[in-house]
């Protein structure tokens, strides 16, 4: 019997639901949740897309994908049809030919700017974060960016300490920026951040209380579909040891 879905699993199905047929989709490092979301989109939601990855494995059979401590190693996505280098994918992105990319963030602000650089000032960091990797490069280039982050006031802030990913540029250009948290799905728009959907059991008030910026609500936000037993069985097949829970999204 598969386990019952936890907020982390709802984040996986939320991210998966944002992938559409025919798109080119890339994930980076420390991207165990996006990796699962891609497998879930393929196997549970029946989405068909071009699978690209920092591991440079091109179109791995989704059934063979495994969550490991690195989402960039050669054994997370084995048996690809071949190697497509990150350089090659990023050149496609420069031409506007990459549709979806996932990014984590230590801070996200009301404009959808993200910070993976420092907490505090750059010169005297209180916390030196890992760095944004491709964030700054791809933010102005990729059609849809799917962010994932913790739903609390330390993460969802009025202003990020450092703009690693320029969300404002995306909003101005009409590029889609969506954020899957452990409580909700938020979209960054010209009007501001809109609360699009809630995890099962989470209220609008709770989602608002957990954000350091005003969340706009248009009508009644949808309730995100949690993975069902079949969905959970798929997630567990890819991540039998529950490594996805190590990032503590619940």
């Amino acid at each position: 019997m598969p386990g019952s879905p936890r907020p982390t699993d709802v984040m996986v199905s939320c991210m998966a639901s944002l992938i559409r047929d025919g798109e080119s989709v890339y994930h980076g490092l420390t991207s165990q949740l996006p990796l699962l979301a891609m497998a879930y989109a393929w196997r549970r939601l029946g989405r068909r897309f071009t699978w690209l990855s920092v591991s440079e494995s091109y179109m791995p059979p989704p059934e063979t994908v495994r969550v490991l401590p690195s989402s960039g190693g050669p054994y997370a996505e084995p048996y690809g049809a071949g190697v497509v280098t990150t350089m090659d994918v990023f050149d496609l992105a420069a031409q506007g030919r990459i549709d979806v990319m996932f990014f984590g963030a230590a801070q996200v602000d009301a404009q959808g700017n993200t910070n993976l650089t420092v907490i505090g000032s750059y010169e005297r960091p209180r916390v030196k974060l890992p760095g944004g990797a491709a964030t700054a490069y791809l933010f102005p280039l990729v059609r849809r960016i799917i962010l994932w982050a913790r739903h609390d006031r330390r993460t969802l802030v009025e202003r990020v300490d450092f703009i690693t990913g320029p969300g404002r540029v995306r909003v101005e250009r009409g590029l889609e920026t969506l954020l899957c948290t452990n409580k909700a799905l938020i979209e960054f728009t010209r009007e501001g951040p809109i609360l699009r959907a809630l995890h099962p059991g989470i209220s609008v008030e709770e989602a608002r209380a957990g954000a350091g910026f005003d969340l706009l609500v248009e009508g009644e936000p949808r309730v995100l579909e949690a993975p069902d037993a079949i969905g959970m069985a798929i997630i567990e097949e890819h991540d039998p040891h529950g490594l996805r829970y190590l990032q503590r999204y619940g």
């Binding site: 401590p69 989402s71 280098t85």
Partner: protein
């Protein structure tokens, strides 16, 4: 008589080539194909104060920083992925002991391309709007320029030319003709952009064996200065087609490094391997 000179040397001799004040780059990413044998040799040699440039380093960088070998870093991300922030890098930067210039993947690639292509700079798409631009303009590593053909603003990345590239490959002949199988990341650019290239390989083969391998060469003898035989030379990081990452050892590293004991881990796990690599 062969056109190229044999460059097969011992590990010790190889890392002696790394001069004081050099900026180095390494092969692989986070936990894949790090040149750990060469890195271990640099640490054992007692090298200090080197610069470091790479796109998405992990274990090798954290070890080098913990050992004081590297004192300034330029990278798009430094992470131990699921094991968290690279602890030695984080601590050293927060304490002001190590300078860190954050870069972004596309710009690192552009800089390495300029270096490899023999050009002074390379424009890169994206990036504008990120505060990284201010940092790099201050360092004079990037400039925002106008497209000379009438387009808008674009970021120009000054060529990245590391002094030394440490590369771990699958096969190499004694002349420096090497083959990397599977993912290559930017390693072939690093080989071409760097002034001095040291290749360690799982297998040293003769040139005739390379004729039978159905792979393109990642480097030729023209690119490489020294070749070292280091089987298992990426351990504990993964080597495509040969061995997976040793997660037990990596987890132990992450824990010990968080406790400030990265060098103890080095003494326990990597130093004993040095003799097997001919130290």
């Amino acid at each position: 008589m062969p056109v190229a000179a044999e460059k097969l040397v011992g590990l010790r001799e190889a890392v002696e080539l790394v001069e004081e004040g050099s900026t180095i780059t390494v092969s692989g990413i986070t936990f894949s194909r790090n040149p750990t044998a060469l890195v271990a040799a640099l640490i054992e040699r007692g090298a200090r104060g080197l610069g470091f440039v790479d796109r998405e380093p992990g274990l090798a960088l954290d070890l080098l920083v913990a050992a004081g070998v590297v004192s300034s870093v330029r990278a798009a991300m430094a992470t131990l992925e699921l094991y968290g922030l690279a602890p030695s890098v984080r601590r050293a930067v927060e304490e002001g002991r190590v300078g860190f210039l954050e870069d972004t993947c596309g710009a690192v690639i552009a800089g390495l391309r300029a270096g490899a292509y023999g050009l002074p700079f390379m424009p890169v798409a994206g990036v504008l709007g990120s505060q990284l631009v201010e940092l790099h303009e201050r360092e004079d590593t990037w400039r925002v320029i106008r497209d000379p053909f009438g387009g808008g603003e674009v970021v120009a990345v000054r060529a990245i030319r590391p002094d030394v590239a440490l590369i771990h490959a699958h096969y190499c002949d004694p002349y420096g003709n090497c083959v990397i199988e599977g993912p290559r990341y930017e390693d072939e650019l690093k080989i071409r952009a760097s002034r001095l290239v040291i290749v360690s390989a799982e297998e040293i083969v003769d040139t005739d064996a390379l004729r039978r391998l159905p792979h393109p060469l990642s480097s030729t003898s023209l690119h490489v200065d020294a070749v070292v035989h280091a089987p298992g030379g990426a351990w504990p990081t993964a080597m495509h087609g040969r061995y997976g990452a040793d997660w037990g050892a990596i987890e132990e590293y992450a824990r010990m490094a968080r406790e400030g004991r990265a060098l103890e881990w080095f003494s326990k796990h990597l130093r004993p391997r040095l003799s097997g690599w001919g130290w």
